[in-house]
Symmetry: C2
Subunit: 412 residues, 2 copies
């Protein structure tokens, strides 16, 4: 059961002008489920992305990066194609050929070049991609293309997700009301390092490519790069930002303009909601945990400490048990790798409860207070380092029996 | 159920001349169990240790380090005192006072100075040490002092361990047969960084203090620092090496002498058996997994890759399920943080089965072969980087439902 997460209301998901989506059942791994998605873009869209830092980068990530860098400045990306059920990772040269073949097949159907198509895959690693099933499914995707198809698209990219993840918003930019709609998938192997498993956000805003790249990097850093379920960075992470340019506005080209900042922040907000949805739907999650580390010398050290807490199996199982065994949080802070950390300055809060002061148990702390907070489904851990002004906020979930069950059974 | 681990046969545990051990039930946390141990040393022993790198270093670790550094060169350590049930970590100034008070009480009973006593604690973090119960239990420990009391000692330091861990060996050094006997405890919060939760090895060999320090560092690096259960580095890790000097031999003073190398290797072997016992008894463990990373440019990069595999919850749950979902191993190698790793050179073996070649699935690999190995209770993962000559071997266990149960219920 996800933590305080419901399926998106289809009516809340707004079409984005210039963007159509089509899905089908291609039987890639399991029957009777949508598993193939095409996002078709009208001519003239800009597309930017951030990708996994895993050295075993999946074939589709390699090809997507190549196509973005090879694209003729006078051409534009015309489609993204996404399959679930198979990650096409750890598949060597055959995997690259299969990812390219997918693009070629779709380009043929759309009347564009293969470079104008970006491929994405998610699912089991190190198994051959059934490219012929994908090719066979593409015409059905194109027949299904609709602007109001976001919810089906979100469903078609799920793996162990229990609910689809999608969100829309609107913001005033350059005198126009622009729309943003995004989808994401992910529930395990979640410790994005540049992006999550898969996230796609589209807007009809007109934005230059350099600004779009800056917006996607900013949004990823403050959303998908702040979450973790199990500390495993996927081979297939990709977060893509599409700007169709169909809104009636001048192109944004000044990175310091209030209009661009407003758009960038709206993208970040959408990405953050999607990222938090992934944590809420984290494999086996029963609690949504925000970790705020503040008073650090640098954002980097705050991140190290936050992720040490977020990745500790002992902290995560204590939260699952609603047991305020909070010394485990101190231990995780201590081994986070901040070599000169002065633990005697550290204060630790659980929501509003001051648990540890000056690095030791707060004499006024009562177990009953910790217990009260631990029983909640949403909890904030706040570590105050008292040595600087940097801070970060991360989001994670607990570690439950169901996490083990899901990952022990995933392929069967 | 531990993996291929049985309780040590008491007759296999050899007394070490100059070393006596006594235990009692001090009711530190739970009734009806031995929870306090005194290891008394005859005058003239040398003692060296390695300790946790966690910044939240427990009070007894701070005090043990201080006492070792403050010791008068003409005096020697006369006792080690170890309690289970309470880690005396995250306890601030009170914790330091309690650790010192424990030493003072025992020194008073033994007729030595407090600096000649080293304190150790293991158990729950951030709860006040019930020092008065420890003090009250010390006379019973002294009344119980015996040279052949190693098994009781191993039992008295257990926390979530299901079996005591102890081993003896003998080796010819300097014309004499010297004896080594060691005990250790640990089952969770195991990712030692200098030592495990607690390990004590005693020998009757005569070794100079500088050589003893070098031997304990060498042994820790090749034993306790090669294991992980859950990646959580404890606040209380300590591995102590005691040389009573009672064997009829000249003192070892030359670090390059074959006699010292023989002793050092015997210590390492004992430490390695204890360390592997900890993994075999890892919380919820059903499989014992050796991870060998070879062909690396440096030992450091081999360790990074080995620990990334060993810590991945996805790899660990796949092993629990006996599911050869081996792409998860590639993914872990990819995010291990070796920035210039050329994944196309990597070969991956599961025991004798070549799973991946040149970074991709081996065309000759059959799922049935992976399945056969995965069903074993002891499995070796071998990653061959093909870029250098460095190698490491690490040991870990799988992640099961019982790990979650044990750590969700630990304090209750």
């Amino acid at each position: 059961m996800p933590v305080n997460l419901v399926a998106p209301d289809p009516k809340s998901l707004l079409p984005v002008a210039g963007v159509a989506l089509g899905v089908t059942q291609a039987n890639i791994r399991k029957p009777d489920r949508k598993d193939l998605l095409v996002i078709r873009l009208d001519d003239g869209a800009n597309v930017a992305g951030v990708f996994t830092q895993n050295r075993f980068c999946a074939a589709p990530v390699v090809v997507t990066r190549q196509h973005l860098s090879m694209l003729d400045p006078n051409a534009s990306i015309r489609a993204l194609v996404v399959n679930t059920g198979n990650a096409n990772a750890g598949t060597g040269k055959d995997g690259l050929a299969h990812a390219r073949q997918t693009c070629t097949e779709l380009a043929h159907l759309l009347g564009c070049t293969a470079v104008q198509v970006l491929p994405f895959s998610t699912g089991v690693i190190m198994e051959p991609l059934p490219v012929e099933r994908i090719a066979a499914g593409l015409p059905a995707c194109l027949a299904d293309l609709r602007a109001d198809n976001w919810l089906n698209a979100a469903q078609a990219i799920m793996t162990t997700d229990t609910l689809p993840k999608a969100v829309s918003s609107q913001v005033k930019v350059g005198g126009a009301t622009v729309t943003l709609t995004g989808i994401a998938k992910g529930a395990g192997m979640i410790h994005p390092n540049m992006a999550t498993m898969l996230g796609f956000v589209a807007t009809d805003a007109r934005v230059s490519l350099p600004l779009l790249k800056s917006a996607v990097a900013h949004a990823a850093k403050n959303s998908f790069n702040c979450i973790t379920v199990d500390g495993d960075t996927s081979t297939n992470d990709a977060f893509m930002l599409i700007a169709s340019g169909k809104a009636g506005m001048n192109e944004l080209t000044d990175a310091r303009s209030p209009d661009f900042i407003a758009l960038r922040d709206a993208v970040t907000q959408v990405a953050r909601q999607l990222a938090q949805s992934i944590v809420r739907d984290g494999e086996g999650a029963t609690k949504f945990i925000s970790i705020r580390v503040e008073g650090g010398r640098s954002e980097d050290e705050c991140r190290k400490i936050g992720f040490a807490i977020a990745h500790s199996p002992l902290v995560k199982t204590a939260f699952f048990a609603s047991d305020p065994n909070l010394g485990r949080i101190l231990a995780a802070i201590g081994y986070a790798g901040v070599a000169d950390l002065d633990v005697e300055k550290l204060d630790l809060y659980l929501d509003d409860v001051l648990v540890a002061r000056h690095g030791g148990r707060n004499p006024a702390y009562r177990e009953a207070d910790g217990q009260r907070v631990m029983k909640q489904s949403e909890i904030t851990i706040r570590a105050v380092l008292n040595r600087g002004t940097a801070s970060v906020t991360l989001w994670t979930c607990d570690l439950s029996h169901d996490y083990v069950s899901i990952n022990a059974d995933y392929r069967s």
